[in-house]
């Protein structure tokens, strides 16, 4: 009787052991990814949906949580969507974190030097932006770039982008106070277009109004960084949509999973992008623009 019991226990423990080994093997094949969204709505949810759908097609299991209810402590990777989510994820060090939907400047401020943390930036590489200006506007030599307290951190990056793209930049700092017009007029003197970068001061709503009016008066087109801005008055905008970022992040996550661990590598700019064109502004400025698709193809073909 006791022997029979022992036999059963041995079989049972073998089953458990086998299950354990199997489970561990399965876990290695499809890691647990926790998607932490700054808010369970809007652009964050849109990015998360695109990411989870792409990973779901591969049979990956993805849990979506928000900072207040972040319970997925056992995840192999946390994808933090939005600044608030990144801050929460960084508060629990020691696990790989991929930052999404966060501009480079903010990411570098929050996560510089941290191990196992990487990012797919929200913003576009400056070289790509300058190149787009070069492709869209024949005779483009120099772009005026108004910078604010936040975006002036991009000075060095702007200079190397200017070298890489062959388009010079002429930047000026816009601060609290009063003289946007003189600044824009000065910059316009030897610039063929303006490049608008996000900044809470230089690109805030009240400034944008006058910025677009004055650049239009100066007959200088603007390349901006978001879809709403192309509606507002920019000739062109270069940006990545939440869906594009989600899909690109999913591909990156799949590629970086090997041998039971994530190796994310260096933070990078998105490869996928969208070009927005305001044809009404183009007509008024008498600029013959190639189609968005043609511009995209040419820009993608550039190194």
């Amino acid at each position: 009787m006791i022997g029979l019991l022992r036999h059963h226990l041995a079989r049972l423990s073998f089953v458990f052991l086998a299950c354990g080994v199997l489970c561990a093997g399965l876990a290695r094949a499809a890691p647990v990814v926790n998607v932490l969204v700054a808010e369970p709505a809007g652009i964050y949810q849109e990015t998360a949906n695109s990411l989870t759908q792409a990973l779901g097609r591969e049979g990956w299991k993805v849990a979506v949580t928000s900072p207040g209810r972040n319970s997925a402590n056992g995840a192999d990777l946390t994808v933090a969507i939005g600044t608030k989510a990144l801050e929460t994820a960084l508060a629990q060090p020691g696990r790989p974190v991929l930052s999404l939907l966060v501009p480079r400047l903010i990411y570098e401020r929050l996560a510089s030097g941290q191990q196992q943390v990487s990012a797919l930036y929200l913003d576009q590489p400056l070289t790509r932006q300058l190149r787009l200006l070069g492709l869209a506007l024949p005779g483009m030599k120099k772009a005026g770039v108004p910078l604010g307290p936040s975006s002036q951190g991009l000075q060095a990056a702007l200079q190397s982008a200017a070298k890489a793209s062959g388009i010079q930049v002429n930047s000026a700092l816009i601060n609290q106070g009063s003289d946007l017009y003189a600044t824009l007029n000065d910059m316009a003197e030897d610039s063929q277009a303006f490049l608008l970068l996000p900044d809470p001061v230089a690109a805030q709503r009240s400034v944008l109004q006058n910025f677009f009016l004055q650049t239009y008066r100066l007959k200088k087109p603007v390349l901006a960084y978001s879809e709403p801005l192309v509606q507002s008055g920019a000739l062109l905008a270069l940006y990545s949509t939440p869906a594009q970022l989600g899909e690109e992040a999913a591909a990156w996550i799949r590629e970086s999973w090997s041998n039971g661990a994530f190796r994310l590598g260096e933070p990078r700019y998105p490869k996928r992008f969208t070009i927005g064109v305001n044809r009404t502004v183009a007509r008024s400025l008498d600029i013959a623009l190639p189609s968005e698709a043609a511009l995209s193809r040419q820009l993608e073909a550039m190194p």
């Binding site: 652009i43 939005g82 600044t83 939907l101 966060v102 501009p103 903010i106 929200l122 913003d123 108004p146 604010g148 936040s150 975006s151 000075q155 200079q159 190397s160 200017a162 070298k163 062959g166 010079q168 002429n170 000026a172 700092l173 816009i174 601060n175 609290q176 106070g177 009063s178 003289d179 946007l180 003189a182 600044t183 000065d186 003197e189 809470p200 001061v201 805030q204 709503r205 009240s206 400034v207 944008l208 109004q209 006058n210 677009f212 009016l213 004055q214 239009y216 960084y225 978001s226 879809e227 709403p228 507002s232 008055g233 940006y239 305001n278 009404t280 502004v281 007509r283 008024s284 008498d286």
Partner: protein, 643 residues
């Protein structure tokens, strides 16, 4: 390679912008909704796709010209004639055909008509607008009645003022010179939350004509506020007024050179614009204007009858207007603009048009379609249907086509019809001297029902644009037929006059004229520091009235060139007008005029300053009306500070 080696050289300078403390950068900056700033009505149509010839006078042209007064700017437009009959009677016409009451040019300031329904013409000096507040002037050369309705017959001038917080901060300026030039300007522009505003206080004084008593002083206040409560709506409120103290009369004739005019013009305007998308918006414009002039002269005396009435040429008029307009782009190829407007004009001048207040309403509907089935073709069809108190129901259509066969070249062909309604003074004039119950002398009377004047026009345009050389050329050939021209008739017998001092005059539809001509304007941006605008025009008129035949100069030339020397900027303006005649006046001899301007900009910290010296008519005296009225050489210095 040079470009590449220079590519990394970024210059950085710190300046201040109108900006409130803001939240730190966030991802929402990339996604949050923004107001449509460059909406359809803010974007000007490219000239090579426009249905008519357009000259744009920009701020840099205004500054380089050295002109202090608004009508002088029109010297920069091909085919325009500007004449100062007196310091308070500037008059402007396009290709002649006009008396000193230029009644066939419509003028709108931010969409508000400043055309005087009492006399016709525009009292240029009485517009509450400082030259410094003008953003640009767009001049449609030729009829524009399909857009602007009656009276936009020969040309249509749209003046746009700067947005409220354009150049925020304080601006103070003063000009002092010969010919009693004394100007002052104080402006403040600011912003707070959803509001932006600007207030301008300005004063101008000059003594225009040599040896004439025509010193004029104007004091003006103009205010503008813009409110943007959300991303779709923008409300602009404007109000302003001019007080003019003018020696001599504001009308062409006077009874004593000791007469003075106290002039007032005031307006209020509200404009609500809702932007639905970059191509679609509607707007509601409401405004009210009041003008009055007190022109008392020493009473006339008759040996037998004693003192005669009237002893003044006082008048007032007012205009109220409500306009709804809707712009849309139903398809990528088709753009539409629809407007509906109601206006009420009132005018009174007991001396000139009897004791009653004359008034009338006007209702308008207009639509214009711009269809571009292919990139190289644009077809325009527009029409204005109006019910006017004097003109009756009229349709003013326009058809035009632009052909852009190769980049840089475009052609335009257009035909249009426009009407000029009789003015209150033409239709209701009753100007007589009386003594008690006795009619002493009837000078003016309007016994006939007047018809509108009608102009049919055809034009051919060619535009050339060369970006590398910085060249823009605009050529226009035109033919106009003007019918039912209103003018004074031969003496009209009036019973019971005790004294007859010359003919009794009445207005009637009398003449017709045909006009041919050509003109061009050339702009050359020669590098960053130099630009030149040059225009010339040639005109011929055939008419059954010799004054109309002589009314346009055979040739005109206008040149403005500017160069930036670095610390200094210089500009030169040269204007030449051939022999002509303002209808009903004596001949104006051919004349030319040379102006120079030299300026230097300074910067002290946040303060910008500009010191300029302007010399006008340095070739000597010239006359642009009759040979008695000379514009002598003059100079002024102006200093402007912005802080």
């Amino acid at each position: 390679m040079l470009n590449r080696s220079l590519a990394g050289m970024a210059c950085m300078h710190t300046v201040l912008a109108w900006a409130a403390p803001a939240d730190p950068l966030s991802e929402m900056d990339y996604f949050s909704e923004q107001p449509v700033v460059l909406s359809a009505s803010r974007l000007s149509q490219p000239v090579n796709r426009a249905p008519a010839a357009v000259t744009v006078i920009t701020r840099e042209m205004i500054e380089a010209s050295g002109f202090r007064q608004l009508p002088d700017l029109l010297r920069l437009v091909p085919g325009f004639q500007v004449s100062w009959v007196r310091g308070n009677i500037p008059t402007v016409t396009y290709q002649g055909l006009s008396s000193i009451y230029s009644r066939r040019i419509q003028v709108l300031v931010d969409g508000r008509s400043v055309y005087n329904p009492a006399y016709g013409q525009v009292q240029w000096r009485g517009i509450p607008l400082a030259l410094d507040d003008i953003d640009r002037v767009e001049v449609v050369r030729g009829s524009n009645a399909a857009n602007d309705g009656v009276n936009a017959v020969q040309a249509s001038i749209h003046i746009y003022t700067r947005s409220a917080a354009d150049d925020p901060g304080w601006t103070a300026g003063a000009s002092v010179g010969s010919a009693k030039v004394r100007d002052g300007l104080l402006r403040y522009a600011g912003a707070s939350g959803d509001w932006q505003w600007r207030v301008t206080l300005s004063s101008r004084r000059d003594d225009w004509i040599k040896n004439q008593r025509d010193e004029a002083r104007d004091h003006l206040l103009d205010a503008r506020a813009e409110w943007r409560p959300n991303n779709r709506d923008e409300v602009t409120l404007q109000a302003g007024g001019v007080l003019g103290e003018w020696d001599n009369s504001s009308v062409g004739y006077t009874f004593s050179n000791q007469q003075t005019t106290d002039f007032f013009n005031g307006y209020v305007q509200g404009h609500w614009r809702r932007t639905l998308s970059a191509d679609s918006e509607w707007s509601l414009l409401v405004n009210h204007t009041v003008t009055r002039a007190d022109e008392t002269f020493p009473p006339l005396f008759n040996r037998r009858l004693g003192v005669l009435a009237p002893d003044n040429l006082n008048y007032w008029f007012s205009r109220s207007a409500l306009e709804f307009s809707w712009q849309a782009r139903p398809t990528e190829q088709l753009r539409t603009v629809w407007t509906a407007e109601a206006r009420r004009d009132r005018a009174w001048s007991a001396s000139l048009a009897g004791p009653d207040t004359h008034q009338g309403s006007m209702y308008r509907l207009s639509g214009s379609l711009e269809w571009s089935p292919r990139e190289e073709w644009v077809l325009h069809a527009g029409a204005m249907l109006e019910k006017h108190y004097y003109a009756g129901t009229r349709l003013s259509p326009r058809l035009a086509v632009n052909w852009l066969p190769v980049p840089g070249h475009s052609f335009r062909l257009g035909v249009s019809r426009a009407y000029r309604s009789p003015t209150f003074l033409e239709q209701e004039s009753d100007f007589r001297f009386t003594s008690g119950p006795f009619l002493v002398d009837q000078l003016l009377l309007s016994p006939f029902k007047l018809e509108s004047e009608r102009m049919d026009s055809a034009e051919l345009g060619y535009l050339y644009h060369q970006a590398t050389l910085g060249l823009d050329l605009d050529v226009r050939l035109f033919h106009n037929r003007l019918d039912d021209v209103i003018d004074f008739t031969t003496p009209y017998p009036v019973a019971g006059e005790l004294a007859r001092n010359g003919a009794d005059l009445t207005y009637a539809n009398l003449y017709q004229a045909r006009q041919w001509g050509g003109e061009y304007q050339l702009r050359w941006q020669a590098g960053k520091a130099t630009w030149v605008t040059l225009s010339q025009s040639w005109t011929r008129i055939r008419s059954d009235f010799q004054d109309l035949v002589d009314s346009a100069p055979a040739q005109t030339l206008s040149l403005l060139a500017s160069h930036d020397f670095g610390l200094l900027s210089g500009s030169v303006g040269y204007y030449r007008v051939g022999k002509m005649r303002w209808v009903g006046s004596s001949e104006t001899p051919a004349h030319d005029r040379l102006d120079l301007r030299l300026s230097r900009a300074f910067k002290f910290g946040k303060t910008r300053a500009d010191l300029a010296v302007v010399a006008q008519s340095i070739l000597g005296d010239y006359s642009e009306f009759d040979t008695d009225r000379l514009f002598e050489p003059r100079a002024y210095v102006s200093f402007t500070m912005h802080f």
